[in-house]
């Protein structure tokens, strides 16, 4: 009889707590979004599954000695996984459109206003009873950078206890870019502006593409060394892509390596989706602030592009400003789609890739600033 009791006590049914069940359902919700709705499936599948694993009673996945514990501390706490992902993203990024039309960097800069404005929002939530420190607020604000690895990197450094909620918010809103952005883009532009066709981009030479990542790295070393982990790995990936002599390494960085690391990154982030860390008012605040950050970033990008269109000789379609939030390449596709609705002959994709990749650089720079000033 005693052994039966011990056996019963070792079952999941006897040990389940309500919070764990709810978090498992959250994990299932993430799996549903990934599999049925195709929302950022590459990350949400391992993340959702990680959320289920970490909430299994008795198994101790996230306790000291557990698999997810080791994955988290080896890869996310140290910052290694997001940086390796960033190297892969660098290897997948073509800066050609940006180099051909460098003023689109200003659109990438303007869209970062979403990050800094959200800082205010996070602090303002303290008025309604939440307790966000400046570090928490900075980690939440980076959701506006629409860049998963950057958000995870910064959150792991500034507010590891909020990492799960921040990662879920960042990836959820990145998946929701096609729903969040178009209404804002249409509200801030006229039909005539959306119809604007832009001049064809010039040819960018191989030498330019090779020197560009080195130049970006040099500038980061001189002016913002705090951002060099992110920018450095990004530039390494990009240089491997462009130099043309290490195709095997470039191919590994943008395929096998990024895929392997994505699995572990997802599981590691999922391990932070435990009931005590996720089921609280702060998570709701983070989800709300994430949407605000995305919306403000989109709006300031579009407004900057409108200003640029007024001031510059060459015409600029304001829609490409929305791509400045990064979320590569989804935001650029959205700009292209909204442009095509107004003018079926207007293909903005390549023009929008400029601010899109500028947004990646902009959010890495913004993360470096937050690390330098708050970290």
């Amino acid at each position: 009889m005693e052994s039966l009791k011990v056996l019963w006590l070792s079952t999941g049914l006897a040990n389940f707590e309500l919070g764990q069940v709810i978090m498992m359902l959250v994990g299932c919700g993430l799996l549903y979004l990934a599999i049925a709705r195709n929302f950022e499936p590459l990350l949400l599948v391992p993340m959702g599954f990680g959320a289920i694993l970490t909430n299994i009673p008795v198994a101790g996945f996230s306790e000291v000695g557990g698999l997810l514990h080791f994955i988290y501390y080896a890869g996310i706490d140290t910052g290694i996984f997001p940086l390796l992902i960033f190297m892969g993203v660098g290897a997948m990024t073509d800066f050609g459109a940006l180099i051909a039309n460098p003023k689109t960097l200003l659109l990438g800069a303007a869209a970062q206003f979403g990050i800094f404005a959200t800082l205010f929002g996070a602090i303002a939530l303290n008025l309604v009873g939440l307790d966000f420190s400046m570090k928490d607020a900075s980690a939440i604000a980076i959701i506006g950078g629409a860049d998963g690895p950057t958000a995870i990197f910064l959150a792991s450094k500034l507010a590891p206890e909020l990492l799960g909620a921040i990662a879920v918010a960042a990836y959820s809103y990145m998946a929701l870019v096609p729903i969040i952005q178009p209404p804002i883009m249409r509200a801030l532009t006229t039909v005539e502006e959306r119809k604007i066709e832009m001049a064809q981009l010039r040819h960018v030479t191989k030498v330019e593409k090779i020197i560009f990542p080195l130049g970006v790295l040099m500038m980061t070393i001189f002016f913002l060394p705090a951002a060099t982990p992110l920018v450095g790995m990004f530039c390494l990936g990009n240089l491997m892509r462009e130099c043309g002599v290490v195709d095997r390494l470039s191919s590994t960085a943008q395929n096998e390596l990024i895929n392997i690391v994505t699995i572990f990154l997802g599981l590691g982030v999922g391990s932070k989706l435990s009931a005590d860390q996720f089921l609280n008012a702060k998570t709701l605040g983070i989800l709300a602030l994430g949407a605000v950050a995305f919306s403000i970033g989109t709006a300031t990008g579009v407004l900057m592009a409108k200003l640029m269109n007024k001031l510059s000789k060459e015409k600029v379609n304001p829609l490409i400003g929305a791509a400045g939030v990064s979320a590569v390449p989804m935001a650029a596709r959205v700009a292209n789609k909204v442009g095509l609705e107004a003018n079926p002959h207007n293909f903005l994709l390549m023009h929008a890739m400029g601010p899109n990749v500028a947004g990646v650089l902009g959010s890495a720079v913004a993360a470096g600033i937050l690390l330098a000033l708050v970290g």
Partner: protein, 90 residues
């Protein structure tokens, strides 16, 4: 409440400093592209572009040897026609 006020002031400072820095950094990058990269592009154009221009030169040289583009076009169309006939027979 005072603490909150201090946090707001800090957030405001951070916002101002952050946006100024982001614009300055990316602005400097624009200068870098316009000054360094554009000049580099002029000095070291792509090898493919060079190959194209050199092949054009070669064509001109061939033209100088007496084979006119009209003759080349005629031979090409004749060859295509011949191959098509062969494939029909098969």
């Amino acid at each position: 409440m005072e603490n909150l006020q201090a946090l707001f002031v800090e957030a405001g400072t951070l916002m101002f400093a952050g946006m100024v820095f982001v614009f300055a950094f990316l602005g400097l990058l624009i200068v870098f592209i316009n000054v360094v990269l554009v000049n580099l592009a002029k000095k070291y154009p792509d090898a493919i572009v060079e190959a194209r221009s050199s092949s054009k030169k070669n064509n001109k040289k061939q033209d100088g040897n007496g084979v006119s583009p009209a003759v080349v076009a005629a031979i090409s169309s004749a060859v295509t026609q011949y191959r098509q006939n062969q494939s029909v027979k098969k």
